[in-house]
Symmetry: C2
Subunit: 215 residues, 2 copies
Amino acid sequence: MEKNNPKYLNQGIHVISSIFTIEKGIIKVLLIKRSNEPYYGKWALVGGALYNDEEIKDGALREIKEKSGIENIDLNLCNVFGKINRSPIMRMVGISYLGVVDIDKVNILRKTRKTDNANWFPITEIPNLAYDHNEILDDAIIHLKELIMRTNILKSLFPNYFTLPELKKVYESILGINLDRRNFRKKLLTQNIIEPTTKQIKFEGKKPAIAYKFK
Amino acid sequence: MEKNNPKYLNQGIHVISSIFTIEKGIIKVLLIKRSNEPYYGKWALVGGALYNDEEIKDGALREIKEKSGIENIDLNLCNVFGKINRSPIMRMVGISYLGVVDIDKVNILRKTRKTDNANWFPITEIPNLAYDHNEILDDAIIHLKELIMRTNILKSLFPNYFTLPELKKVYESILGINLDRRNFRKKLLTQNIIEPTTKQIKFEGKKPAIAYKFK
DNA sequence: CCAAAAGTGTTTGTACTACACCCATGA
DNA sequence: TCATGGGTGTAGTACAAACACTTTTGG
């Protein structure tokens, strides 16, 4: 590689994270409002340019911390985004991650040196985002669905007490399918990842539902 | 992003591909011998630096064509590699792909402007490679196994006639497990992706085996 | 006592696993 | 004729899907 070949100049890497949570049974993603050009005033996924002295995932975590205050997330690689003009400043390759957090355990910073606002948006009500972030988010949602079906990634979203109808509704809204009450319960119990408590919580029905917690 | 902040300077992207094939029932990967520094004389996966005016996968395909002559491959994203010193020249983020080709349909270039040799290596006999390519290849092999189990990616490796014992042996050698003759046959037939022909081929046994082909 | 959601078990089908015998050929 | 690998069918098991009635509460 000839380092000064103009073909190789002015490249950079974006690290972009789709951070999901669940609030009142609704799946939401963290967006921040940009306070700088380009895309000043636009909502965007949390991310930014990778430093040349940090590892990729570390860069993603740093951006998340800087722009939202959230720390200690497990990030999963989703995809790479390489359209040549996806950034107006220079050639930036985007590397996208997804993570999930418990909304009760984080306090997001509404305003930082680089952001004017931050908020959780239901994934069905996403505005036009900066850059190609709509495309990146759509892709992350697909990956999230696969992760939910293959793993217990939602575990970290339900650290306290929850009812099975509530959990079922979350799965249904994310996966876009209807689940059977009895089979859903059976599956979670045979997987041995939840346990009943003595609490009862009213979710939607008149009859209170038993509260469960993850083991 | 402040474009001239030194934190963002001198970054580049490597696109690196693990190209697999099957020869006489053995799974092999394409390696090229480097004719330039760094890692002069070392074997390496096919890849190189991404141009700033091409999309990522296009860059991977260009590198494959330049260094091996192979064209028209389906590439699957495997992973990103971000260790800070993975390239001695400057900060290079590696993006790795995998593809499979039919060895009878390609003619690899043994020598190009940038390579001194090219060859297919059984994945059990991989030398020390340039850069972090051993790590990248190990990761690609894991992805290949998952792809084989989830999809019919091997289809493009068996375009002509093959016998079921032969196909079974390939699966076994890649996946590192033993398969049952009858169940293996049943699975492929119920998936409706292969069909018998009138040909018979002797594979290993004394009794000729029926030749199949993919639909 | 009625509406509305929550709790519970059984049955069915499907997909994978395990397993044993006969067949065709070359030596 | 015998050794070697190739071809075939069946029974058991585990997992997912379908399905109906009873229970608890608020109004």
